[in-house]
Subunit: 297 residues, 2 copies
């Protein structure tokens, strides 16, 4: 049996080839932001979100190609959020996956515009995808909500940036969970719900996938926080121990590494139990859940 | 007969009331970007784009309410572009319409996120609007293209920022026109085409409205450049003579004020002639064209 690393790597090879067709090389200074968009999106991401979208669609008999537009759009939204988060006025990161961040490779203005461009292009691609109109509208509505400033990713980034670290200790866990649920959880939940929308899944199936997504999302953030403390900078590909230096709240700063690891393990075990609802079709979902726990980057 | 200033002011009063319903006040630090979005969008804009969208829709019997979602979405895109353009890494403006720009009132990170939020919210509002699915998809596709980095507004902002001022003199006009067509032209063309999409206008009707939009768009930019040189800072509400200081290419720097004024006049005369195609229904379009020429801010 293939390992999940091989499965993910085969998937991302295929996905990356399709992704490239959306980013033809164009000559001329007016394409500087479009260039920077290509640079940022082809930056070697794990493609976890499109993978989840493809797999949740397959659960309902919707194939890779039929859901591709939605997968590409989602990865563009994820990519834009990284480009903007890396900006000097936000997390001020110089490296992402071992390569200079967009504003280091280009400049700040171009990075702002490239992020804007990726976000805008996501909706262009989704609106032009080969999905039936009614479902397309649902996907656009859900994506914009989950990426948005009221109930979505942007609200999570706001919390991450503006939560004071000197809040009451018993409030801390609640705030971190809320931050995670919005900042990273929303865009992991979206691909799982997408499959249900595309393939007319039942309410129960949607709830099951949502629960799975919530669990792996939280576990993902906890392992991220653990890697920030004990990870290898060369493997992770970005500057580590930043939260500590900035005295930022995170799961490790509250619980310590060991307890955080245990919590992540419990979440993953629960995710695996929940997704077992889909029987033999849940195999890759289970492998992915384990991978999130064991990943080194 | 009412003056266009009165008509616009009545329209924007009504529009602003509807706009506010999309921005309820929410308590909590996670709504900081959403707050900044409200601050930016309620910053006293002229609402020219929604006005054009409403009027072009009315040409085809589509009323204010039926096109409202599209109008709101468009104004949000326009507003996001101003918030990001004002950032220190772009045009670095401290004032907009006499009030502190978003990053001055809040901070840079919040301004980036508020821009992202407005852009994302535009698609959420459009996707949830009471427009039939097929047309909604068309509107989303067109809006994302015209606001985008390849053929839209973002490419125009790139040109505006990165065109070297020392290019060949005979290339200058071409570049300025291209910059304008992308940067401001696209979002003035969009509302005119919207009416045709919503009301099933003919190819000829779409071409007519597009030609009108192209002309008033270019004239709008020329008068902007003229106001930058001879305008009253208190009335215009932003720092003037910036292009001159930054040695930026614009219509006045090439032609001088008088020739630029003549060119704007010719464009407006042509716009009025073109829109006469719609007979008595073109009255407000004609008044708006004249207003663009005569405006003091």
């Amino acid at each position: 049996m293939e390992s999940i690393v091989e499965i993910l790597s085969q998937y991302s090879d295929k996905f990356n080839k399709d992704l490239e067709t959306y980013f033809p090389r164009c000559e001329g200074i007016q394409y500087r932001a479009f260039d920077a968009m290509r640079y940022s999106i082809t930056n070697g991401g794990k493609r976890l979100r499109p993978f989840l979208l493809t797999k949740s669609s397959e659960l309902f008999g919707v194939d890779y190609k039929s859901s591709l537009g939605a997968s590409i759009a989602l990865e563009l939204i994820h990519s834009y959020s990284l480009v903007h988060d890396d900006l000097p006025c936000m997390d001020n990161d110089d490296f992402r996956r071992g390569k200079p961040t967009c504003h280091k490779q280009y400049d700040e203005a171009t990075a702002v515009l490239a992020g804007d461009g990726l976000l805008t292009y996501a909706f262009e691609i989704l609106s032009n995808s080969c999905i039936e109109d009614k479902k397309k509208i649902k996907l656009i509505s859900l994506l914009s909500k989950l990426a948005g400033a009221r109930e979505g990713m942007i609200a999570g980034q706001v919390l991450d940036l503006f939560t004071e670290s000197n809040i009451y200790i018993d409030k801390k866990e609640e705030i971190i969970r809320q931050t995670q649920a919005l900042k990273t959880g929303c865009l992991l939940k979206y691909p799982c719900i997408c499959g249900c929308i595309l393939g007319d899944g039942s309410k129960k199936e949607e709830e099951t996938l949502t629960k799975y997504a919530d669990n792996i999302g939280l576990a993902f953030q906890i392992t991220d926080d653990i890697l920030d403390v004990i990870g290898d900078e060369k493997i992770v590909g970005k500057t580590l121990k930043k939260d500590e230096k900035q005295n930022k709240l995170n799961f490790v700063s509250i619980y310590g590494v060991e307890k955080a690891q245990k919590q992540a393990l419990r979440l993953i075990e629960e995710a695996i139990e929940v997704i077992d609802y889909f029987g033999t079709n849940s195999c890759e979902f289970k492998l992915l859940a384990k991978y999130i726990l064991d990943r080194k980057y």
